[in-house]
């Protein structure tokens, strides 16, 4: 079957199938950006591993951040099936020519941020990613099935962490509320610009890469999350939040902030990339040694 027939049949496109250049380029960009988000996303939470306040939480967090490295690996591998190389994609990340999710340009200022990132950021990621399990490109769709299972575990761990804080001391409750106040709006921005300003959505939908619009997914996330906040006993920082009988309607998102962070002017943009580059540069001699050793083995 040719590409259009496969799409029409809602079948999966596989690496050896013929595909339009635009489809290939769009997927490479999206999967790479997704992979980059996983590895940059290790930083804000990873910085709390050494400070986790109990050994159980330390183990949970270490395992979670390890999962994110694993997600990065599956996704770079999925991108490689489209004819690109992980090393080249990393160069594009390091030189700022490919992006990662802007959410990771916000700082994790306290321990409650670890739980809040799990609850809100992973929660939003799941809403974004579950439809990608049905993406038209087979390797991406299959990687997402496993990633979504792990993300859903992380989201519940984050919720449980926050629930513990919310039922804890006054200091712990304050810590939890402060983190939720800071992460709520950025997590809504994770779904991207409003539909009328999202020029690529129509094409991505036609190609079966995207299944729902940004605003649809954002609404789904809000509807799912508001009742969870009530269970936690924490408030969401939006006075306009109200239930209209069907959906939770939310207030105006600060799109100027969204654009500023996207442009590189968020609180941690420079720091995240600098840390990533430093790790890459510091490890260059190790990768060179591994290559040299492997080459000797072949000879």
């Amino acid at each position: 079957m040719d590409f259009d027939a496969l799409l029409a049949a809602d079948a999966r496109i596989e690496p050896r199938d013929r595909m339009p250049d635009g489809y290939r380029r769009t997927l490479i960009r999206q999967i790479a950006q997704h992979a980059h988000s996983e590895i940059i996303g290790m930083q804000p939470e990873g910085d709390w591993i050494t400070r986790a306040p109990s050994l159980r939480r330390k183990a949970i967090l270490l395992a979670k951040v390890q999962d994110e490295a694993g997600h990065g690996l599956y996704l770079y591998s999925a991108a490689e099936t489209l004819g690109v190389d992980r090393a080249d994609l990393l160069d594009l990340l390091h030189s700022g020519r490919q992006r990662y999710s802007s959410i990771f340009n916000y700082p994790a200022l306290g321990w409650a941020d670890v739980g809040t990132i799990g609850w809100l950021v992973d929660g939003a990621a799941i809403v974004n990613q579950v439809p990608i399990c049905r993406c038209s490109y087979g390797p991406y769709a299959r990687a997402m099935v496993r990633i979504c299972k792990e993300e859903s575990f992380h989201q519940r761990q984050g919720f449980e962490l926050l629930l513990t804080l919310a039922h804890g001391t006054a200091g712990q409750r304050a810590m939890a509320q402060d983190a939720v106040d800071r992460w709520w709006w950025p997590s809504l921005m994770m779904f991207g610009p409003p539909d009328e300003e999202s020029p690529n959505t129509a094409q991505s939908m036609a190609w079966g890469i995207k299944r729902h619009s940004n605003d649809e997914l954002r609404q789904r996330f809000v509807d799912m999350t508001v009742p969870q906040a009530e269970v936690l006993g924490l408030t969401l920082p939006d006075r306009d939040l109200s239930f209209d009988g069907e959906h939770w309607r939310y207030g105006e998102i600060d799109w100027a902030e969204f654009r500023a962070v996207l442009r590189g002017d968020g609180p941690c943009n420079a720091e995240r990339i600098a840390r990533r580059r430093a790790a890459h540069d510091d490890g260059a001699w190790v990768r060179e040694a591994a290559d040299a050793y492997a080459a000797k083995g072949v000879a």
């Binding site: 590895i39 290790m42 930083q43 990873g46 591993i49 050494t50 400070r51 986790a52 306040p53 109990s54 050994l55 159980r56 939480r57 330390k58 183990a59 270490l62 395992a63 951040v65 390890q66 490295a69 694993g70 990065g72 690996l73 770079y76 321990w111 513990t164 804890g168 001391t169 200091g171 712990q172 840390r275 990533r276 430093a278 790790a279 510091d282 490890g283 260059a284 001699w285 190790v286 990768r287 060179e288 040694a289 591994a290 040299a292 050793y293 000797k296």
Partner: protein
């Protein structure tokens, strides 16, 4: 030494090296190595948690794993100096992992036959994990030793950095527990350990460093100046909220 004191030594070695290893998160040379180092840290943390819980129960003063990890001062930690040293570069990290996991492998292999059933069970589980750590470190030692001029230099330098801290691993500490068949005599581990490590170094084209031993004292609660900052980082958040449940 009491049984609780002996178990604390085993626990603290694992806890402190888990802490050091987790500092590599999102800093490793490759993504695969990020996964591997996190895995090693998790294994060691798991061993530490079983052992701390057991030490607390044996002590009988109502201290759980967190009371022992978060509310002891440096002078009550019984880990060897080797595990508290800063990571340094990847060469030193691998050198430390090689000598430590080779030691712990020999130790846990024998401890699996301990007369103490709890220690025997923890050791039997741990030795499988440590076998992988040792293998991982050995493979990197060979790759770095035989890779490039630069990697050979760094691997050699890392080994020279950690080697002075290895004699402490084999210092006699608990004769009564050894006699009772509960503890392993560390002196007996030295020979098989050296046989394994020098075999790896030979494959890597490296030699056993000729350096003087560091003074040691970790098992008695005397630590290097790296230990204070490590514990500050580990304990500060927990200590800032007395009585809180996490």
């Amino acid at each position: 030494m009491s049984l609780a004191g002996y178990v604390l030594g085993l626990a603290d070695d694992a806890l402190v090296l888990a802490q050091r290893t987790s500092e590599w998160t999102a800093r490793a040379p490759t993504l695969e190595e990020d996964v591997a180092l996190a895995n090693i840290a998790l294994d060691l943390l798991g061993q530490a948690r079983y052992l701390l819980t057991y030490a607390g129960a044996e002590e009988g003063a109502g201290r759980d794993e967190d009371a022992l990890a978060y509310r002891r001062p440096s002078s009550e930690f019984r880990n060897v100096h080797l595990v508290e040293l800063p990571n340094g570069d990847f060469g030193r990290t691998i050198a430390r992992l090689l000598v430590f996991s080779a030691y712990r492998y020999e130790l846990l292999t024998r401890l699996a036959d301990s007369a103490d059933p709890t220690l025997a069970a923890v050791a039997a589980k741990g030795v499988k994990e440590v076998a992988y750590h040792r293998d991982h470190a050995a493979q990197w030692t060979v790759r770095l030793g035989a890779g490039t001029t630069e990697s050979r230099r760094r691997m050699g330098a890392g080994l020279a950095d950690v080697w002075p801290y290895t004699p402490e691993l084999f210092t006699e500490e608990s004769a009564a527990l050894v006699a009772a068949g509960v503890a392993v005599d560390p002196v007996s581990l030295s020979e098989p350990w050296l046989a394994f490590v020098s075999g790896v170094l030979t494959s890597a084209g490296l030699v056993v460093p000729d350096v003087a031993a560091a003074p040691g004292g970790g098992r008695r609660g005397v630590h290097t100046d790296a230990m204070g900052p490590l514990l500050d980082e580990l304990q500060s958040l927990h200590r800032a909220h007395p009585g809180a449940v996490w």
